[in-house]
């Protein structure tokens, strides 16, 4: 539901389309109405009543988000009391569009007497709120902002303190000091060189020269001691481990040159190199700051995205009270209530309720599984049917989760041994440089007839010339520019070494569900009247059930219908018009194949009532058998929560006559049901650890090519007309075929590893043009397959079951819709809807590697030119300074080619 410009065109009053634009959010509103929904009307009123109406003129790019009532959260835990008695909380904001939103939020808060500080940080998308008063005042303030359409999620103060980036500030401070010192020392040096170069040495008396040297020393010594620390510390750390990196020659060079210059100054000598030492640090610090900034920003973004998704769960106390608490604060044994359409935030065992659960994020399974009391559910899965009561359990040994965690740990340790290009160069470069300098010294002292000081001076000139200034900039400069370019394209590169590893990739392995396929289910459009679809979508817009959302996506933005009622577990209705399960809509009465759009497994006329087991309570009954694969863009989508605590459901599907439900159809599983259906053994095989929720499809499920024939469906009934059936299917991402062809052209091997059943994997593999695929892999089998492949693999996956593979592969990527753990493990997270990001990633990485190598080549070439001069003792301080700055600028300039 992108708010595209087309919406505004359609909303033009002179347009034939009867819709008008909502006065608040700009989305279509019903004809003759000013607002699309009550939330917008309320937000508009609030803004006008505060006299902030100019907000709408300020919106440059986009209209404000449509307000959707938020889930309540407990703010008290996140509030810190300040010494002066005021309270403070930091919240992540979702829905900021441009400066106008910042202005609106700050103006609204500014009109509150109790607010001391209400400031939005647009870069990190955070709101810092300081107020005087009680904690409930704070909650009121937060609600006020939320009623305008922004979504707020509080940050944990402890986590915030831990994540505070002190390194960045320390580096910038060092950079400022180095810049100041470099400029001033250079001023002195220019004076000295001018005296030299004029050829009239008499123009500057030795006393003046000494004075300038001393002033230089006074500025440079403390500055070098302060600014050099990042390098000295890093060099000491690696030396202690008996290794070396680029910081070792830097540190030795800087310290030696500074010490020697000081000795020269005291000896009233002609040359001192303070300017070289401090300018060197200045250039190196630029590289450090840029490098750190680019990565810090990406990290902050990922962290923010994950915070926005982190779930609070409803915890049931002993006395039956329900409180909202963050999922990670729970201990085993506590009871959690999971509503319809809600993500299950914990690992646990179902105590009460039967429902179907979308496990695609965990197992890669595209179709939902049914769970009943005693069944196990996992964090990251979504409850599609009736409310469930879940008892929290720890991740036991032998469960899927524990197994994944173990595999991930093992793989991560292995991967951390990757040595980056710069360090590989440094390992050879540092000894070579030091040997050259030593040889120069010995040569001049023993054979060249130079004095000790003279020989040492020449040797230190060699060190200055070879000091890897350009070399130290060579890699980070390219990295910063390439990372920033990817960031703008919506690809977050989290690991510093990811670019180098990406460039080496020779095989790309995809997961299927949610990676190769769209994260959200798509409507099968065949034979559906667009007008009917619009009508249905107007109702569906009131629900956050995944199928309803898919309907809305398929129809584009439509005005929301009015007077819509939600019937938990059944559907939504507006008067006699109904959207929901077959039973709810009354489709069963019309049970003829003629009413079906697309042929397939039809609910049997008598099916719905008879299939309900006797022991089930009525409110739950209608939701059982819900079939809804992969509903990933409902609640998981920030800014798109809806008010309903429940969602739609879809009709129960009766197993076919042979006792086998159609492909994708979900029967009802109960403990003690017929053996085949209660078993989970077949597909996962003995290798699969853990006790997954029971599988709903019997072992003999036929391989069927037409996936759309059955599966998740919604019915839409209007008075006096035959109900219409909407079916939904998994669909490959829009550009999957092109991307895979493009990757092939780049010389990469493509493979598909999925945990899903063979039929659907085969279908998607064919659609995406992948001939090398494996289905029904457990996480262990996936990792084993990855190891077998050898080579350097880029793993693209989104599920928890891909976690071990993401950690094991040479480099990995996840879509932004992936499970939290996958995003944490992946080296890159892409936010685009298509897979093109993967190809872009590899292209950029290869180009970046080329530029890095080019840069290193440039700086080595420069060294090989200048070093003979230095050895010959012909390098004067001004030549050293000019050459060093020149090579650094050359390398930085070359790096900018990474933007193209």
């Amino acid at each position: 539901m992108a708010r595209s410009g087309a919406d505004f065109v359609a909303a033009d009053p002179v347009d034939a389309v009867p819709d008008t634009a909502c006065a608040h959010c700009g989305l279509p509103a019903a004809a003759g109405r000013r607002f699309c929904c009550p939330g917008c009307a309320a937000a508009f009123d609030t803004i006008q009543s505060l006299g902030l109406g100019s907000y709408y003129e300020r919106c440059i790019a986009e209209r404000p988000p449509r307000p959707e009532p938020s889930e309540p959260f407990d703010l008290t835990r996140f509030i810190t009391a300040r010494p002066d008695g005021a309270k403070e909380v930091v919240l992540a904001i979702d829905g900021l569009r441009c400066g106008a939103c910042v202005w609106l939020i700050e103006s609204v808060l500014g009109q509150e007497r109790s607010v001391l500080t209400g400031r939005v940080n647009m870069t990190s998308r955070r709101l810092k709120l300081v107020w005087r008063g009680s904690e409930t005042d704070g909650e009121r303030l937060v609600e006020r902002i939320e009623s305008l359409g922004y979504r707020l999620v509080p940050f944990d103060p402890a986590a915030l303190a831990a994540a505070r980036d002190d390194t960045d500030r320390a580096l910038i401070r060092a950079l400022a000091v180095a810049g100041f010192a470099a400029i001033n020392v250079m001023l002195m040096s220019i004076g000295i060189w001018a005296g030299d170069a004029s050829g009239l040495l008499d123009t500057m008396g030795p006393a003046t020269r000494d004075l300038l040297h001393y002033v230089s020393a006074i500025i440079a010594l403390p500055a070098i001691a302060y600014c050099g620390q990042p390098f000295f510390r890093s060099a000491l750390a690696v030396l202690r481990h008996g290794r070396t990196n680029m910081d070792v020659p830097i540190s030795i060079g800087v310290v030696l040159v500074t010490g020697l210059s000081l000795a020269q100054t005291m000896a009233h000598a002609r040359d001192a190199y303070f300017d070289s030492a401090i300018t060197l640090l200045f250039f190196l610090l630029i590289g450090r700051v840029l490098d750190h900034r680019a990565r810090g920003r990406v990290r902050a973004t990922v962290e923010l995205l994950l915070t926005l998704r982190s779930t609070e769960v409803t915890v049931l106390g002993q006395d039956g009270t329900a409180t909202r608490r963050p999922a990670r604060a729970l201990v085993p044994g506590e009871r959690v209530l999971v509503g319809m359409g809600e993500r299950i935030g914990v690992d646990g065992v179902v105590e009460r309720g039967e429902s179907s659960v979308d496990t695609s994020l965990v197992t890669g399974e595209s179709l939902p599984v049914t769970v009943a009391p005693g069944g196990q559910v996992f964090a990251g899965t979504m409850n599609l049917g009736a409310p469930l009561t879940v008892v929290v359990t720890a991740a036991e040994d032998g469960t899927l989760l524990a197994e994944c965690a173990r595999l991930i740990e093992a793989s991560e340790a292995r991967r951390s041994r990757f040595v980056v290009l710069a360090d590989r160069v440094a390992r050879r470069y540092a000894p070579a440089v030091h040997l050259t300098a030593l040889a120069t010294f010995l040569g001049w002292y023993f054979w060249g007839g130079a004095s000790f000081t003279q020989a040492l001076l020449t040797a230190s000139a060699v060190l200055i010339i070879t000091c890897p200034c350009a070399l130290a900039l060579a890699v980070p400069a390219v990295q910063v520019i390439a990372t920033a370019r990817l960031f703008r394209a919506g690809i977050l590169l989290k690991s510093a070494t990811a670019l180098e590893r990406l460039a080496e990739v020779d095989t790309v392995v995809f997961d299927k569900t949610g990676t190769l396929t769209e994260p959200a289910l798509a409507l099968v459009r065949d034979g559906i009247d667009p007008l009917v679809l619009r009508e249905a979508a107007a109702l569906a817009a009131h629900s956050r059930h995944p199928l309803a959302r898919a309907l809305v996506v398929a129809s584009g933005n439509v005005p929301m219908a009015e007077r819509v009622e939600e019937h938990p577990g059944q559907g939504v209705s507006a008067g006699e018009t109904r959207l929901g399960s077959a039973a709810f809509v009354g489709a069963l009465a019309f049970q003829t194949s003629a009413t079906l759009v697309g042929s397939g497994t039809a609910p049997r006329a008598a099916g719905a009532p008879s299939m309900l087991p006797e022991d089930r309570s009525p409110p739950l009954a209608s939701t059982i058998g819900t079939t809804t694969p992969n509903p990933r863009h409902g609640p998981a989508r920030p800014g798109h929560r809806s008010s309903e605590g429940s969602g739609l459901t879809v009709p129960p599907v009766e197993p076919g006559d042979d006792g086998v439900s159609g492909p994708g159809a979900v029967g009802v599983w109960r403990p003690g049901d017929d053996a085949g259906r209660g078993s989970i053994s077949r597909r996962h095989g003995p290798a699969r650890p853990g006790h997954l929720p029971p599988r709903e499809v019997p072992p003999s499920d036929p391989i069927v090519s037409d996936h759309t024939a059955a599966g998740p469906e919604l019915w839409f009934g209007r008075p006096g007309q035959e109900p219409v059936r909407f079916t939904f299917a998994e669909r490959p991402r829009v550009d999957a075929l092109e991307t895979i062809a493009r990757l092939r052209r780049m010389g990469l091997k493509i493979r598909l590893l999925s945990g899903d059943r063979e039929a659907s994997v085969a279908r998607i593999a064919a659609a995406a043009g992948i001939d090398d695929w494996r289905a029904e892999c457990s996480p262990i089998e996936k990792v084993a397959a990855l190891r077998e492949m050898g080579g350097r693999v880029l793993m693209v996956g989104d599920g928890l079951n891909d976690g071990p593979c993401l950690a094991e592969a040479h480099v990995s990527a996840s879509p932004a819709t992936a499970a939290d753990i996958s995003q944490t493990l992946a080296d890159a997270v892409f936010q685009s809807a298509g897979l093109g990001a993967i190809a872009d990633l590899i292209v950029t990485a290869r180009r970046a590697r080329g530029l890095m190598r080019g840069n290193i080549g440039l700086s080595l070439a420069y060294n090989s030119l200048m070093v003979p001069l230095a050895i010959a003792g012909m390098v004067t301080p001004w030549l050293a300074a000019a050459a060093m700055s020149g090579s650094s600028l050359l390398v930085i300039g070359n790096s900018f080619r990474a933007r193209a």
């Binding site: 300020r58 500014g110 009109q111 939005v120 910038i172 100041f180 003046t208 004075l211 002033v215």
Partner: protein, 49 residues
């Protein structure tokens, strides 16, 4: 040539002032939200703060 003593002292003092101001601006968080700063320049001051 005593003028050079004055000039050096003056330039160091002025440069030092610049450095001090920069460090102060860094400490007060003026570089924490560069995107916001770019937008804030367009805000009117018609609301009391």
């Amino acid at each position: 040539m005593t003028v050079i003593l004055w000039l050096i002292a003056a330039s160091l003092f002025l440069g030092g002032c610049g450095l001090a101001v920069f460090l102060w601006s860094l400490r007060t968080g003026q570089y924490d939200d560069l995107d916001g700063a770019a937008n804030r320049i367009l805000f009117d001051h018609d609301t009391k703060r």
